[in-house]
Symmetry: C2
Subunit: 696 residues, 2 copies
Amino acid sequence: MSETHPLVLFMPSGRRGRFARGTPLIEAARSLGVHVESVCGGRGICGRCQVEVAEGVFAKHGITSAADHLSAWSAKEERYAEKRGLKPGRRLSCSASVEGDLVVDLPSDMAINGAVVRKAVDTREIPRDPAIRLLYVEVSQPDMHAPLGDLDRVFEALQRDWRLPRPTIEPSLLPKVQGILRAGNWGVTAVVAHDREADRPHLVALYPGLKNEAYGIAVDIGSTTIALHLSSLLSGATIASAGTPNPQIRFGEDLMSRVSYVMMNPEGRPQMTAAVRGAIRELTTRVCTEANVSPDDVFDAVFVGNPVMHHLFLGIDPTELGQAPFALAASGAIEMPAAALDLGLHPHARAYVLPCIAGHVGADAAAATLSEGPHRQDETMLLVDVGTNAEIVLGSSRRLVAASSPTGPAFEGAEISSGQRAAPGAIERVRIDPETLEPRFKVIGVEPWSNEPGFVEGAARFGVTGICGSGIIEVVAEMFLAGIISEDGVIDGRLAARSPRIVEEGRTFAYVLHETPDRSIRILQTDVRAIQLAKAALYAGIKLLVDRLSAEEGRPVAIDRIALAGAFGSFIEPRYAMVLGLVPDCALERCGSVGNAAGAGARMALLNREFRREIEDVVTRIEKVETALEPAFQGHFVAAMAFPNKRDSYPELVKVQPLPNRDAAGNPTLSGGEAGSGGSDEGGSARRRGGRAGRR
Amino acid sequence: MSETHPLVLFMPSGRRGRFARGTPLIEAARSLGVHVESVCGGRGICGRCQVEVAEGVFAKHGITSAADHLSAWSAKEERYAEKRGLKPGRRLSCSASVEGDLVVDLPSDMAINGAVVRKAVDTREIPRDPAIRLLYVEVSQPDMHAPLGDLDRVFEALQRDWRLPRPTIEPSLLPKVQGILRAGNWGVTAVVAHDREADRPHLVALYPGLKNEAYGIAVDIGSTTIALHLSSLLSGATIASAGTPNPQIRFGEDLMSRVSYVMMNPEGRPQMTAAVRGAIRELTTRVCTEANVSPDDVFDAVFVGNPVMHHLFLGIDPTELGQAPFALAASGAIEMPAAALDLGLHPHARAYVLPCIAGHVGADAAAATLSEGPHRQDETMLLVDVGTNAEIVLGSSRRLVAASSPTGPAFEGAEISSGQRAAPGAIERVRIDPETLEPRFKVIGVEPWSNEPGFVEGAARFGVTGICGSGIIEVVAEMFLAGIISEDGVIDGRLAARSPRIVEEGRTFAYVLHETPDRSIRILQTDVRAIQLAKAALYAGIKLLVDRLSAEEGRPVAIDRIALAGAFGSFIEPRYAMVLGLVPDCALERCGSVGNAAGAGARMALLNREFRREIEDVVTRIEKVETALEPAFQGHFVAAMAFPNKRDSYPELVKVQPLPNRDAAGNPTLSGGEAGSGGSDEGGSARRRGGRAGRR
């Protein structure tokens, strides 16, 4: 069997199978569902189907793989290598056939036609099956005996060589088909949009001869930042990325102020729509210039964003999203010609907008879900993306629930007395010595910590101007761990006796983080309250989802993994998020940032149409919980005002980070009470240990 | 059985079935495949499903039908009748149910919303199943617990009430959906394009409340004339029609001169495209004004035309059609947004162009085929549409063949010495007394014949200016029947001795049809030759098809019916067409004009998408014969130069129209020879009898 049917393993997918000797490698791959691109249909001219044989003994797989387990170089490969160049070790899988056991790599770094291929934005390999395909065909010449039209013979060839059903055609192409066919001497490359397998494909463009590149953009439209990635639809490589502040900011800092602007100004909606589209157009120009790609070669575009961004981008009035019942104008995925969005791509490029989950849980949360895949896992994942609204998805392959929670802008440094955006000069990290209550901190743009040599010189450049989102989280958490604030968030005025850092500020106390003659950066009692309100809202939303999921599953649900998405996820340290009780207890190593999950999900949908179907399906199955309507919200909210929480235990957290008010099992040791009272000694000692452990 | 399951017969389709008492009439109709329109989905508000009970004893069907065999008037009907009015005898089939045997008429004269409904252009009933549908739905209101978007709830309602799969949406509608839903208080009418059942439908427009009218245009783009019909897509009635000369005439009278114009002038193609589209736009405005319809309510458009017209209309260079291999740029049916054609319809209207059969057999011939339906019959039909090119289709349900033949413009009066277009002053009919050789004729615009009282006064208005297409056919046929010209088309100079009508003209002779001091209308020997060449080309083309069909069927094919389509068919008298040998022998009563069959086919495709599928399928099965490539063409052509034909017999014709050179079985009596020689006496006497018989 193995003599006549060697074993072939494809990497990185790991799919494997046995094939008769002589099976073309590309056929072997396809029969296993491994997508190997080919524009020329096996004619050995596009070079898209390149593979590399991994040589050696792969004991784990029981394979001894060698380059000569592929058939000898074919004339097609010789010709291609001579004309276009082929890296050592590379073969064309359309021309090489299986002759022995093989481990085959599908490389993602193919440089074809001199296009710039940069390091991928994301190291994740996305299996490719894009909605836009380039299909080269050789079309039969006109024949009086079989008077099929030029276009119809193109369709016939597409059917014959690519099994493509008869497509519809872009009307403006009709007059051009004759000339293109003759210019290509009857060899043409069709650009075909075929998003849904069951739909008829659509002929988007037609080029004489072999066209060997097509690109797409994946865009994450955030309220603050728009991020755009340019990917090759043929190699899957992301070849350029860029971001820009969302120019809608001039109409309102946060979502609700933009919605208000539209309500107040009839011209506001079209202005904001034009602003976001203009920004995307500029980003596209920028990435295309950088990658030396013509925007005319961008044939597909995928968009994600929260519901307000989604609506404004599509030109839809977001006013309904500002009030109950928070009615989305459109929740399902939207396919359309990109021309309607005026982005300067190929005139007949396509656009795809991911579905929204609910009135406040948008296409960005859907994309993050697609990227992190709680629905593909048995373990229960909590996926949190915090902006002005927190979008929360919880569940597993069994069941998913989602909600949004109005956290407000405190986590972004807004509504905080010394708060500011993350920019040079902002304090981003803080440590407080539990003995001395003295802080040290790190400022954006300055390498050394505040207690290290070189800090003063470094900080002189921008000054120390305020405290950003991650800074406020860390300082409040450190204040709690150092016993400066109680479980209930009260700054303990009694410590003013012990340290000059604790000062009276009206009827409450404050903590002086940094003081210079012209500026005092202090954490006020109101700042702590703002963080409490924000985190209580987030936690209460999560808690409602845990309740709902537990009810549905008929058992208390434990969270196996916490994925913190977006900017929030990347700046916040999971330990501090848990110390403050932003998120429930979970093994610390299973809680972490997943980067720009929304952007990653958008890229997945760009590169593989099956991911579009997947998220469309998942979204319909996600159960939505409207936090505003849940009677239990208030109780969860009140309990979550405490650090980390009045009621819930943190057994996993206390294993690595003892808490002032918790026993070794993570259960509350006190029913609250005043700061510093009761078991504060044990708490203090636990806190010191934890403080050290946590700082490694 | 009949007690509990009464028999219901629907007219005009004749479909019948038994239904349980209480079955809503509309359901009974639909289960039989009888399309009963309904916009409101059985809510009794659109009135589109009106029916009439035919009362009486229908012995043939075994049905005694009475109005009270329907359920009593419902509240819905009362309300509709009160609000909108319902003609006596009319019922709403959504509200009335079967209670006894019934004969039910589906009336086509529904006046709804005061729209003007005129007499149908064509009395033929076209079963309706249009590609554009109006679907009224009541959409659920936004619900925080089930946060589906507005648009998605429209789709949900379309799925629920109409079983419509999720459609794609016109992008410019996206921002409007919110407002439309709220303006309609959650009741909206969706305009859905759903041409192919297997394709996803497309949401073209959305209206608040009940929208109860949608129209379409069917356009036959002839080289000479453009004809347009405006039909209600809901009732099927054609409510206005108009025609206009094709403005491309200024670029060239006939097809090939227009193709030449494009070859010579780079701007010629866009100019001619703009001209034809402009003319259609104007016609649309004209019919809409006449029918009091807004062009914004025109949602569908169907186009037919010969290949050159087809290409120029679509903006395609027709140059390739001017030379072998006569390559069509596109032969298959084309669906597109009508906006690409700039016709001033609803901005998101759809357009459908019927398929072409071959390089010279266009979408007009396809439409004529669809209309006359040779493929739906067991008998063999010859379908001929003569213009500058004759388009010929021959066959039956078993097999179809098609060809074009270059007849040139002689049949239209061009290339004839006194020829002119059919216009007032043109001689259109001619009779020649075989004894005296004196003619009498009829002139367009003048009621009496030339030998009748009042002719001189009538003709004084325009004069007698020339002879048009039908006139030239008739005068040559009458000259042949009167013995003035021989079987070979030679004007017999010897008759100059007998009649002053025969005069010498250079080295040949001419027949003086009409003479005044300032004008002499004569039939020259060259005119007869021009007709001979044209008719020989037509006949040879037909003959090739008969040969091909006979070979394929393995037996000599007899033509059971001849359908003469278009202007040619309506002006030519079948008897004369046969006397001159334009068409093969056939029972005279089975040969006749079918009117504007291409226009009728276009209307069928407009009103029923199944007819689109039918003709798309038929076209792929029609075998094309390229006359220019067939070696047998020349022989057929030479034989067909004779009147009626050198070789072929005319047994059916001679039964009613004896011929100078044929025996009673229609076989040639002479091997040609000179005119007037040999058996001319028998021929003469036969001719006299025939002349009389034919003139009744």
